[in-house]
């Protein structure tokens, strides 16, 4: 199980991070469009298509990556008061009611939708540049499949947590500035009031604080 979780995390993170770089493509494409349109009065016909395709791809592909890092917003004002074991039990049930049906529906519907588009190599109607969009519609299927893979990993996480009482964390990754600072600060408080802590705790225990 741990193995599967690690593999799923890696796959999600890999897809999420690779497609994350489309933000750079998007920035430069739209930046170029601004330059040629407002300074040279010679707009491109493709920049708009690129911008929404990059945007759509990046957020869809990152759905599973965000899930693995617990980044999807939840109404957690009751949830946060529970013990990890209770959380895991509730979440395990909810994954089967509220996660898999929706995501599987997305995969199936997306499959129909994109295969129809592949049949005649659909192009965008937003601009005259004939930018192909059948690959863009395929993103729905891929994103859904990634979510299924990651969802199974999350289910395994719940099971492990129910057994051991500890939530299995994903590998270290970039974190929001506030989380980094909060952690650093915690560290420092512990360090500065070290006399009291040292007296009670052997040093090895504090490694993972």
């Amino acid at each position: 199980m741990e193995r599967y979780i690690a593999i799923a995390d890696t796959i999600s993170a890999w897809f999420g991070k690779v497609f994350a770089w489309s933000i750079m493509v998007m920035t430069f494409a739209v930046g170029y469009e601004v330059f040629v349109r407002y300074l040279l009065r010679d707009p491109t016909s493709w920049a708009f298509d690129i911008s929404y395709m990059m945007y759509g791809t990046l957020f869809m592909m990152a759905g599973a990556y965000t899930l693995s890092r617990d980044g999807h917003v939840r109404g957690d004002f009751v949830y946060r008061l529970w013990k990890p074991k209770t959380r895991a039990t509730v979440e395990l049930i909810l994954y089967f009611i509220f996660f898999f049906p929706g995501v599987l529906a997305l995969v199936i519907a997306g499959w129909k939708y994109s295969s129809r588009s592949w049949r005649y190599y659909e192009v965008s109607v937003m601009s005259p540049a004939n930018v192909p969009i059948f690959q863009f519609k395929t993103v729905i299927v891929v994103a859904g499949l990634l979510l299924v893979i990651q969802g199974i990993a999350q289910v395994f996480r719940c099971i492990i947590c129910m057994r051991t009482g500890v939530w299995l964390k994903p590998k270290e990754d970039v974190e929001e500035m506030e989380d980094v600072l909060l952690k650093q600060h915690e560290h420092e408080v512990l360090k500065h009031s070290s006399e009291a802590v040292d007296a009670m705790k052997p040093k090895e225990d504090r490694k993972d604080v």
């Binding site: 407002y38 999807h72 917003v73 509220f98 500035m177 909060l182 600060h185």
Partner: protein, 611 residues
Amino acid sequence: MSDPVIAVLMLGVFILVILLGFPIAFTLMAMGVAFGYYAYYDPERMSSLFDNRIFDLLVNQTYSVMANDVLTAVPLFLFMGYIVERANIVDRLFHTLNIAARRLPGSMAIAALATCAMFATATGIIGAVVTLMGLLAFPAMLKARYDTSFAAGVICAGGCLGILIPPSIMLIVYAATSNVSIVKLYAGAMFPGLLLAGLYMAYVMVRAWLNPSLAPKPKASEVEDIGKMQVVMMVITSFFPLAFLILSVLGAILAGLATPSEAASVGALGGMFLAIAYRVAAVLKGEATATWAKPGSVLAKDWWAEAIGVGATIVLGLYTIYVIIFQVARNIAVGDPISLEGGLFGGPFIAVIVSLVLGFAVVLMGDQISFLGRFKPKKEAARAMMVFAGKGASVGALFGLAYLALMHSGFEDRVSSRLSWWSLDIGFYVGAVAWFAWRTLERSVLSESVYLTVRTSAMVCWLFVGSWTFSSVFSYLGGEELISEFVISMELSPIAFLIMAQLIIFLLGWPLEWSEIIIIFVPIFLPLLPVFGVDPLFFGILIALNLQTSFLTPPMAMAAYYLKGVSPPHVQLMQIFKGVMPFLSMIILAMVIIYMVPGIALWLPEQIYGK
């Protein structure tokens, strides 16, 4: 059960499920699919289990989120925010403003408030602003014997301004849910944002003036003795770049020049430029280290690249000054459009040749001729940077030459534009700038910003995927109508409706975050607005004001928790809440003022875009 009752059941179940803490985006999607399967169930279309129109609806809604032209601005603005957040701009900004404001009552609080407001505007990330300022300005204020509650309130309230003052992500999200034009929303939020910031400032000054013990004046020994000119210089280097970035993004949108996503991408590029500029300055001053700036990192065999780099830099610098003085001045004075060709003298290739001559002259003869020697970089870091620029320029020039040859050799059958003659020059300078930027920008800052951008965008946009599916099923079942009829049957006056709506949003802000409220709950009110004659633009501004409170009110006062997390142990959560209270009443005061004088919100959009 009739369909509308099912719809109400759907909403009820959803609210219960939120309490359980499952990721909301997927809850919405699954519930939309399940109830939609019931709603669209058609006994004649049961050839397979999946023969139901709900699947078409789901995928169509997903695709319309993916191809939404308003939401494209979300990742771009987030990206700009993360880059600015990680570029070490904020501590210099606070330090500078603190010195500049030292004569005002409660000067440090004013400086903290201004820094918070600017930083929150540029990044839009409230958690980061509050924690950073909590580590930077909060201890400084406590050390200056400021009242703990007072100082805490300033930082929490100031950090939340980012969701109101444009370019805020929240307003983009509201625009996508309500179909109000985003540029109009930005124009409408300008003055209310300034009003609220102004109210905060006024409050701080009046309190500090009435009760000096809250914010004691710094002793003469504690104030750094810095000359006026130096203060001006500090303001120019640390305040103006960020202000310029914000103003150019906003100006471009408000002047109708660019769409939000265009302005956002310019902002992201500007953010990268700022990050590079601050980094280069820090490395040159020796405040930061970089592997490429260590002694001995410039190899002797790279002298040619150094020469090319020096030349390219000098010409680019001169050209920038020329453009600023002549082109921009003419643009402002006469209204001539900025034309690129008018800005380049001579013909193609001249600029490259001038660069090469200048560069080699400086490097080879700089030691003999003192005038040229002045331009020769002396520090190891500066020389390394020149080598980057030179190498980039060489590669770029090669590409430019190849393109030129291709376009003018008859191989390509196209009519080559006038611009294609410039491709050598373009390649040369673009290469120089690009390689320079790539090597000097801290790579970890870039990749961290990219990854965080993608995670936050996924969070916001998947919520849209779920919510649009959910709400179309909800209104198909007739839930929306039922709510409308119910509210209309209450026979409220418009003002009572407005107060009720804002009160509900205020209460929802206690347990929920802004993204959930805007994407899921605000759409319930939107169809009611025309009934009561409320302008959705005006409503959006009130919500933006209102939602600041969602960060400040317990039990889910994220801003207060962030501040508590980074403050010294003796600061108590209750003290922070106590300090936040007056600012909460300022927010409500601002809402009342804007309700009484709607022109504050509506005047600017009408001026710019007409009614």
